[in-house]
Amino acid sequence: MISMGFEKFGFVSYVSQAKIGEFTEYLKKNQLMGTKCKKCEKVYFPPRGDCISCLGDEVEWVEINGDGKLVTYTEVNFAPTGFQEDVPYILALGLLNSGQQVFARFSKDVSLEQVKSGMAVQLVPCQIDEDRVTYEFQIP
């Protein structure tokens, strides 16, 4: 895996170089990918470049199923620098059916009234603009 492009991840990014930089290229192609340890086969999402379970340092990309349920959430009205024009937005923690917990925003078309802990959600790749990519929760 070569280092590239992590600065394209999210609404504002703070990290540009990472072993799993290729992740953003997959998101751009509308693919939700995690990493799988070649040695012990543990799957990580968000991806990790190394396996902390068996300390293996070789991983491969695998497609992730975004189906899951909502664990907790909040609607943000007062945002940090770089996000002020986005308010209000809903931050959420979801548990994928495959076992990984994921932190992301809800899609802009979801309103607070529609959101309830425990509800079914789907994590999908999302193009923010020409360059930037992320993933977001939608109501399936």
Partner: protein, 386 residues
């Protein structure tokens, strides 16, 4: 190995917006009060100083060096301790280890934060990086947002209401009237707290503490020096420090407690050989109202699900089963991150010496301090006895 370690002097600056004060001025104020609080301790009796602050709020790099210089604590050892909002009590734990090991006899812990020197824009930028900057901050996180997600989980799990959260704010602001160093020093009604603007649902403005400037200073000593330099040494009976994953996504449900706090409490209670019911007075890290309810459960003051009932029944008010944050808490004192833990310990030392004035808990013998860094990444629990 020395027998016991004591706190022999405590001090803090006024907390709040301090436009005429630099980090030097603030730490001098706290240090001066702590020295005056001892019995004739001289600066050269201090063998080492630990400076505690959270990185990124002021421009000074390597701040321990400049603080030690300004307070003339050279050439003794000094260095910085950083554990976000728990920096000063993590430093207290290190100071205890230095003394317990026999390496030093007297150690000063100096915590500070200068938060209002930055523009609002700059401080918001720092706030945005409070979480994991790789996979969480890029979505627009903030401290209120993270704690709001815990509040939502608490409400879903235990039926906690927005009124229950507001009651914590009402309690702590009420007691701040008697704390001349607190930022606010005024009471708010339940209706007022509930009507303030929503920052991150369900948390409103008065569910949140305020950024503040301030410093605190604790002076610790071994038993023989404590007897020499203190009228009434306050003994450190138990210490705990735990950690939790920084990312919310890497934590285990339910999102109604902090593993770091549960671990720190376990360590501290074991070391002190006491149970939660033995605590006479406590200071807990109420950076947000929900954080105080979380603390009741993590510290074993009640079952986790009973924490809303604890505030409804006024069990943590003065006269209740365990008075909590009767100095006003972070909610009303303001939260100069690196100074907060030291300020909590100062309050508890006053309580155990019987010097807490209008908020004195009668006959307090054992006190507990709980200081959380960030979203529970670090938590210290400190148990003191007279």
């Amino acid at each position: 190995m020395t027998a016991r370690v004591a706190i022999i002097g405590v001090g803090q600056s006024s907390f709040g917006k301090r436009p005429n004060s630099s980090i030097r001025d603030l730490t001098f104020e706290a240090f001066h009060e702590a020295i005056e609080d001892t019995k004739n301790l001289g600066r050269m009796d201090i063998d080492a100083s630990l400076v505690a602050t959270a990185a990124g709020y002021d421009k000074q790099r390597s701040p321990a060096a400049v603080i030690a210089e300004y307070l003339e604590l050279n050439p003794q050892p000094t260095f910085l301790t950083e554990a976000a909002c728990a920096s000063s009590t993590v430093a207290l734990r290190t100071a205890w280890s230095f003394i317990k090991s026999g390496l030093h006899d007297v150690v000063a812990v100096i915590g500070y934060q200068k938060m209002t020197d930055m523009t609002s824009e700059a401080i918001q930028e720092v706030m945005g990086r409070a979480g994991d900057v790789m996979f969480e901050s890029p979505f627009g996180t903030s401290m209120p947002a993270y704690y709001a997600m815990f509040a939502r989980a608490h409400m879903d799990a235990y039926g906690t209401t927005e009124e229950d959260l507001a009651k914590v704010s009402v309690k702590n602001h009420y007691y701040s009237q008697f704390n001349p160093k607190a930022m606010f020093q005024k009471e708010f009604t339940l209706e007022k707290v509930l009507s303030t603007r929503v920052i991150a649902s369900p948390l409103k403005s008065l569910d949140c503490c305020a950024n503040a400037d301030g410093a605190s200073c604790l002076i610790l000593a071994n038993e023989s020096k404590a007897k020499k330099f203190a009228e009434q040494p306050i003994w450190i009976k138990g210490l705990g420090l735990g950690s939790t994953a920084m990312s919310l996504a890497s934590r285990k449900p339910p999102f109604t407690g902090f593993e770091s706090a549960q671990e720190a409490a376990r360590q501290a209670y074991t070391m002190a050989s006491i149970k939660p019911k033995d605590i006479d007075v406590a200071e807990v890290h109420d950076c947000f109202t929900i954080a105080e309810l979380i603390a009741y459960g993590d510290l074993g003051f009640c079952k986790r699900e009973d924490s809303p009932k604890m505030i409804r029944d006024k069990e943590t008010h003065l006269g209740g089963r365990i008075p909590v944050n009767v100095d006003g808490g972070l909610l009303s004192k303001g939260h100069p991150v690196g100074a907060t833990g030291g300020s909590q310990i100062r309050t508890l030392v006053y309580q155990l010496r019987g010097e807490a004035g209008k908020v004195q808990v009668d006959g307090a013998k054992i006190a507990l301090g709980h200081n959380v860094g960030g979203i529970g990444m670090y938590t210290t629990v400190t148990i003191l006895e007279v």
